[in-house]
Symmetry: D4
Subunit: 249 residues, 8 copies
C-alpha cells in the first residue's frame, strides 16, 4: 500500500468520513509488494491476525533471505518454517536478533509490538520422542502468534496411565494440539477426555506401513472422539495457526 494512500485513508478516519471498520477492510484488501519470485502480503496481519510466514521448503537460501529482509524491514516480526541449515545460517548473518531453532527448523524475529495475547493456554502433546520436531514447530509458531504454550511429552496410548496421570493439565488447556505418528491413536483418547478443541497432527514417524504418516492421518480423520480436527502430515505450523485462531476468537 502506498504510504500516501494510507495517510489519506487515516485522515478520513480521523475526520469521521470513513468508519474504522471500513478503513480496516480496505487496508486488508490492499495489494502487495512484488519481487520477481514472490508477492509479499504485508497486510496479512490486518486481515488474518498474523504476519506472512515464509515456507522455507523449495526456496533457495537466497530467496528466503531476501523475502525475510523485506518483511523484517516493516518491523512486523518474522517467522520462517522448514528452514534448511544453509538458509538458517544466512538468516543468522543478515538478521540480528533472529532466533534459530534447529529442532523445529524455524527462524523467528520478534515484532516491535507484541501480538495480542490469546485467551488461554495451548497445550502441545506428543505421543513419542520422535514426534518432537513437529511439536516444536507448533510451539514456536503458537508462541510467535501470542499464545501461551505448554507441553506434555511422550505420553502415547500404549502406556495409557502416563496420560491419565496428567488429567489436570489436559482439562485446563484452552486448545490442545496432539502430535502422533505410528498408529496416531492419541488424539482419540485425548478427545474423549476434554471439552476443549483438539487439533490432531499426524507425523511421518513409523515403520513401513505407516506410509510416511498416512496411517496416522487416516486414524485421526476417523477418530471415534467426536470433534477432533486434523491438519496435514508433519504440519505443526498449520496446527498452531488453527489453535491461535481459536485462542484469539
Amino acid at each position: 500500500m502506498i504510504p500516501e494512500r494510507i495517510r489519506h485513508l487515516l485522515s478520513q478516519v480521523a475526520d469521521g468520513s470513513v468508519a474504522i471498520d471500513t478503513a480496516l477492510e480496505r487496508l486488508s484488501l490492499d495489494p502487495i509488494e512484488s519481487l520477481p519470485f514472490a508477492s509479499i502480503d504485508h497486510h496479512r496481519t490486518l486481515r488474518q491476525g498474523f504476519p506472512e510466514v515464509i515456507f522455507g521448503a523449495g526456496k533457495s537460501p537466497e530467496q528466503v533471505a531476501e523475502i525475510a529482509q523485506r518483511i523484517a524491514a516493516r518491523g512486523d516480526g518474522l517467522l520462517v518454517t522448514r528452514v534448511a541449515p544453509e538458509a538458517a545460517d544466512l538468516l543468522g548473518e543478515r538478521l540480528p536478533g533472529v532466533e534459530l531453532n534447529s529442532l523445529a527448523r524455524t527462524a523467528y524475529l520478534a515484532p516491535s509490538v507484541p501480538p495480542s495475547p490469546g485467551k488461554g493456554t495451548v497445550l502441545i502433546i506428543t505421543a513419542g520422542t520422535s514426534d518432537l520436531p513437529v511439536a516444536e514447530e507448533a510451539a514456536v509458531t503458537a508462541a510467535a502468534m501470542g499464545n501461551c504454550v505448554a507441553r506434555l511429552t511422550d505420553v502415547g496410548v500404549a502406556g495409557i496411565h502416563r496420560l491419565l496421570s496428567r488429567h489436570a493439565e489436559l482439562s485446563q488447556a484452552a486448545v490442545l494440539i496432539v502430535v502422533a505418528g505410528m498408529d496416531g491413536a492419541l488424539p482419540s483418547v485425548v478427545g474423549g477426555l476434554v471439552r476443549a478443541p483438539v487439533i490432531a497432527v499426524p507425523t511421518s514417524v513409523g515403520y513401513g506401513a505407516s506410509f510416511q504418516g498416512l496411517a496416522a492421518l487416516l486414524t485421526m480423520l476417523n477418530s471415534c472422539a467426536a470433534g477432533v480436527t486434523v491438519v496435514n502430515i508433519d504440519n505443526g505450523f498449520g496446527a498452531a495457526v488453527a489453535a491461535s485462531r481459536i485462542n484469539h476468537s
Copy 2:
C-alpha cells in the same frame, strides 16, 4: 451412576467436604449403562459438554430405537445421525416429539433443559447444491449443541464473486464450517478471507477421480490458507462438534 452415590456426593459438596470441581470430575469418570450390544455413557454431557450421540450406520433399527429410548428416558435430549429411513420411522413411533430431518438423515429430541449457548454464530458454507445433506447434518448437530447457526449456500470458487459479495457474513462468524466436494477448493479461499477458525468438510460429491471425496480431502489437508483444519469425508456431524467445542471455549 447409582442415584445413592450421586446423593452422597452432592451432600459432600453441600457441606463443603468435597469441592465442586472434584465432584464434577468424579461424575464425569463414572461408568455406564450396559445393553447386550452397547455401553451407554450417560455422563458424557458432564465430561464433554454434549450428550452421547448415536451413530446410526451399521446398527439395526431396533438397536437404534432401544439405545435412543434409554437416553431419552434421562431427559438429556437425543441426537441420532445417519438414520436409515426404517430407523427414522421407528423413532417417530416411539419417541413423541422427535424431529426427523430426511435431508440431514438425523433424528433430534430437545432436552428438558436447553444446552448452554455458544458465544457466536457458526456459519455453514457449501460449495454446491449436492453438498447440502452433509451441511444439513452439521447444521442440525450444531443447533442441538446450543449454537446459533447461519448458512451460505452454493458459493463455490468457480464463481468467486458469489462468495466475495458475502464478505460481511463471513467476517462476522465466530466459526466457519466449509463443506465442499469435487475440487474442495473453497476452504482455501475462505481461510484467506477471515480470522476466525475454519473447519473444512470434504464431501463425496464428484466425478470419477474424486474417489468418493478423497480428492477434496487431500485438497483441504494441503490448503495454502494456514490454520484450516479438516474432518473426515461427509462428516458434517464431526465438524459441528468441533465448531461447538470452539464456540463454547
Copy 3:
C-alpha cells in the same frame, strides 16, 4: 483316504511296525475327496487341529450345501462362514441340528466328539456396536474350535474409562481379540494394558476416509503397543483361528 489304507496303517500301528507319530503324519498328508468344484480336505483336523471350514462368499447356495453335507457325513462337525441368507435356509433344511447365527453369518454343526479344550479364555472386545457382526463371527468360530469365549462390548477409546474399569477381565484372558473400525485405536490401548497375546481385527465400519476399513487396518499395523498382530479387515474368523492356535499351543 481309502478306508483300506487306513485299516492297514492302523494294523501296522497296532503291531508296532509303525510309530504313532509316523502314522499321524501320513494321515495328515493324505489326499482328499474331490467334487467337480471343490477338493475337500477331510484330514485337516489331524494336520491343523480344526476341520475344514467353508468360506461361503462367492459360492452358490447349492455348492455350499453339497460341500457341507459331505463334511457333515463324516461326523467331524461343520463351520460355514459368510453364509448368505439363501444358503443358510438351504443348510437349515438339509442339516438337522445346524445352528444358524444371522448376526455372525455362520452355520455350525457340533462334531460327534467335542474338540480339545483350549487352555484359557479368549476375550473378544469390540469398540462399538457396529463391530458386533465381526466379533460374533470370531466368537462362533472360537467356540467351535473348543475355546471358552468371553465378550466385552462397546468400550472404544473415546470413553477410555469404560475400558479401564474392566481391568480384571482384561488381565485374566489367555488371548484377546480386539475388534474395531473407524480409528482402530483400541488394540493399542489394550496391548499396553495386558501381557497376553493381542490379535487386532479392523472392521469396515466408518465414515468416508475409513476406506472400508483401510484406516483401521493401518492403525493396527502401526500400533505403538508392541506385539499386537493383525488379521484382514472384517476377518473375525481368521482372528479366532489364530487365537485358537495360541490357546491350544
Copy 4:
C-alpha cells in the same frame, strides 16, 4: 528421409503432379535417423509443428549430447528438458550458442528460421514461489515454439485479492497455464474468471499429504470450473506444448 526421395517429391510438386498437401503428408510420415540408443524423428516439425524435444531424465550426459548434436546439425533448433547439471555442462561445451536455464532445467538452441508465431499471449500463473521451476520450464518451452509469454507469480488463492487485482491480464490472455502445488486450487478460480482455455499443472510442492503432487493433481481433475484440462505433475513442458497447439490452431 533420403534426399533423393525428397528431391523427387519436390519435383512432382513443382510440376503439379502431386498436390502440396499430399507432399506434406508424405514427408510427415517418413522414417527417421537411428542411433544405437535412439530413433530421431527429424520431421516431427512437419507433422506436429514443433521439433523433436529431448527428455533429459534417465539419459546419460553423453547420450543427451549425441542426440542433441544430430538434431542441431539440421538447423531445426533444439530443446532439451530435465537437463542434469552434468549434461548441461556438456551441451554448453559442444553446442555454441545454446541457452542454459538452470531454474527451468532446460537447454535451448534457436532454429535458423524462427517458428511461426502464435495468435496471442500464453499467460503462465504460479500459486507460489516454490512452483517457479515448473512454470519456467513451461515458459522456455512455449517461447521456443513461437509463443509470446507473460507471467503472473505468487498469486495463490489464500490471498485471493492478489489474483483479482490482475483481472485485465487474465482476460487478455489467449491461453492460461496455471501452475500450483499444495491444494492446487488456483486453476478452479482462474477457470471461473476467464473464457480462454486453461491448462492446469500440478506441482510436487507441499507437506506430507500432498503425496508429491497427487493432491494437487486430483484437485485439478475435479475442478468445479468447467473446461479446465490437466497435465502430469511438474510437467511444465507438456502444458506449454498443449498451449502452443491451441495458440497455433
Copy 5:
C-alpha cells in the same frame, strides 16, 4: 442483476460515459438469483461464453427441475448432465421442447438465440463401444455450445489400422476429444498424428485393475505424445467445454 441496473448501465454505454468492455465486465461480476438450495449464476454466459449447466448427480429430481425452470425462464437455453431417469421424466413434463438423450444422460433446451459458432470441427473419437455414453455427453455439450461435432467410433489401438485409415478426418479437426477406457492408449497415438489440440477423457470401462478408470487416467497423464491434456474420468462434459473454449478462442 436487477433489470433497472442493467437498463442504467446500457444507457451509460449508449451515451458513451461507460465503455463497452467496462460494461461487459460489470455485468459478468454481478451476483445471482438464490434458491434455498442453489445460487444460480444467470450471467455466466457473459463471463464465460456458456450458460450455467446443471450437474444432475446428487440433486433430487425436484431440485433439478426447479433450477432448470429458472434458467429456462430467461431464454438462455439449458443443459443438464448426469440426469437420472426420474429427473429426465420430470424435465420432459415441465419443459416443452427439451431434448432428452438417454445414452448421454443429458437434457437440452435450445436458447432463443443460438450461441456463437466455433471456428472448426470438434472431432470426438472413441476407443470402444462401451465408451459411447461419455462420448455422447461430450457431443451433446459441444453442440449445445455452438460447435460443429464429428465422430469416429471404436478405433482403439489394438487394431491400429482402423485409426490410420481415417487420417484425413483426424488432420482436419480443429480440436480432438479422445475417449478411452481400459488401457487409455488411444490419445497417445492420436496426439502423435495431429497438430491440433487433443483432450483425453479416461472412462471407467474395463476389467478389475482398471480401477474404475484410474488406469486410463494415469496413462493419459503420462502420454508420450506431448501436449495432450486430460480431464476427469468419464467427464465428457468437461472435455467438451474445454474444446469449446479452444474452438472459440
Copy 6:
C-alpha cells in the same frame, strides 16, 4: 473387405504375380465393417489367429446381439465374454446353436471350420471354488481357440499336498493358467515346479484387504518364481488368449 477385391487378390496369388505372404499381409490390414456404435474387424483371424471377440460388459443386449449376428453371418464362429443374463437370453433366441455358459458368462458359436489345434494341453489351475467363474471363462476361451484344455481345481497353497500330489499333470502341460484370489500365492509355487510358461490370473475373491483382487495381483507381479507373467484381475479371457498364442507359436 469387398469380395471382389478378395477374388482379385486370390487370382493374383493363383497366377503367381502376388506371393502368398504378401496376400496374407494385405488381407490382415484391410478395414472393417462399421455399425453406428462399433467397427467390426472381420479379418482379425487372419492377422491374429483368433476372431474378434465381443466384450459384453457396458454394451446393451441389443448392441451385443447385433454385433454378434454380423460376425456369425461370416461363419467365423463367435465368442462373447461377460454376457449379462439378458444378453445371453437374446443371443439364445437369435443364434441357433449358440452355447451359453452361465458360470463363465460366455456365449460361444463354433465356426464352420475348426481353428487350428494347439501343440499341447492348456492346464487351468484354481486355488479355490470361488475362483471357478474366472477359470471357466479361460477354459471356454482356450477351447474356442483350438486348444486342448485340462483342469485342476481347489488346490490352494494352504494345503500344499493337494498340489504336489498332481505333479504329473503339472509337468505335462504345455502352458499353465493359474487362477487365484485372496493371497494369490499359488502361481509362485506352480512356477517353481514346472518348466513350461505360467500365466497368473488374480481374482477379486477375498476379504476386505484383498481390495477386489489388488492383493492377489501384486503378489503375482512380485512372484519369486521367475518367468511368471500376469494378466488383469478376473481376466480369464486374456489369460486364455495369451496361452493360445503360446500354444500355437
Copy 7:
C-alpha cells in the same frame, strides 16, 4: 516409583494386608521417569513382561544414549532397535558389555537377572537372503525376552521342496515367525503345514510393484491359511514381541 512407596507396599504384602496380585497391579500402573524429550516407563516389565525398548529411528544418537543409560542404570537390561551406526558407536562407548549387531541394527545389554524362559522354540523362517536383517532383528528381540530361537533361511516357495524337507523343524516349533518380501507367499504355505501360531512379517524387499513391502503385506493379510496374523512391514521386533507373548502365555 519412589522407593519408599515400594517399601511400604511390600511391607503390606508381607503382613497380608495387601494381596500379591493387588500389589503387582499397583506397581504396574505407576508413573515414570521424565526426561525433557522422553517419559521412561521403568515398570513396563511388571506390566507387560518385557522392559521398555528404545525405537532408535528418528532419535538423535545423544537422545538414544541418554535414555539407554537411564534404563541400564536400573539393571533391567536394554534393547535398542533401528540403531543408526553413529548411535551404535556411542552406545558401545558408554555401555560396557553392550552387544551390537549391525545386521539386525540392534544394541542389547543383558539384564542382571535373566528373563523367564518361554515354553518352546521360536522358529524364524526367511524366504530369501535379502530378508535377513528383519529376521535377525526378530531373533535378537526374541532371545532378549527369554525365548529359545531357531532359524530356517532362504526357503522361499519358488523351490517348495527346500521347505518341505524341513518338516520336522516346522512341526516342533512353539511359534513360527515367517519373514518374506516380494510375493510374501511363504506364510500361507507354512500356515497350512503346522498347528502352531504363525506370525507373518512382510519385508520391503522386491522389484517395483512390491511398493516397499505393500505387496507382501497384502498377501499375508489375505493368507488362505487360516489363523496367520501379520505385523507391520520390516517389523521383526514386533513379531518377536508377539511371539514372546504367545510363548510365555
Copy 8:
C-alpha cells in the same frame, strides 16, 4: 545331491530298473547346498531349464561373491542381476571370464556346456531411450538362457510410423518383449499387430504421475490387445525368463 546317490541312481537307470523320467524327477526334487545366509539350488537347471540366478539387490558384495563362486564351481554358468558397482568389481576380481554389463547391471559367466537353443528369436522392443537398462537386462538374460535376441529401439507410439515401418521384424519374432515407461501404450499396439506371445514390461521412467511405473503397469494390465501378459515394473529379467520358457516349450 551327494555324488554317491547320483551314481547309484544312474546305475539303476543303466540297468533299466529306474526309468529315465523317474530319475530326472528325483534329481530335480533333491535338496540343496546351504550357506549361513542362503540355500543354493544347484539342480534348478534340471527342474526349470535355467540355473539359479542371483538377485543382487539387498545382498552385500561379499554375499553376492560367495554365492556366485559356489555356483560357478559347478560349471553351470552364472547370472547375477541388479549388481551394484561394488559387487561387480568383486565379481570381476574373483571370477575370470565373467562378463560385466553396466547398463544392464548384470554379471554373466558362460556355462561349460551351452544351454539348449530356443526355437525362434526373442525380439526386445523399447519405447524410449530411457527404457534401455531394463531392456538390456532382458537381453542379457534371454541370451544367457540360449535364446537368439534381436532389438528394436525407441519406437514409442507417439510416432507410430517408426513402429509400423518395422512390420517384418515384428511378425517374424517368436516372442516379443515390449519395454515401456510413461504411458506404457506400446504393448497394446504391438499386441494388435502380431500373432506371437507378447510380454509387457513397465518401466519406472516418467514424470510425477507415472508413480515410478505404476501408470505403465496399469496400462499394460488393461491392454485392449488380448493376450498381452505383464511382469513387474523394471523386471527385464522376469520377462526374459518367461520368454525363454515360451521359446523352449
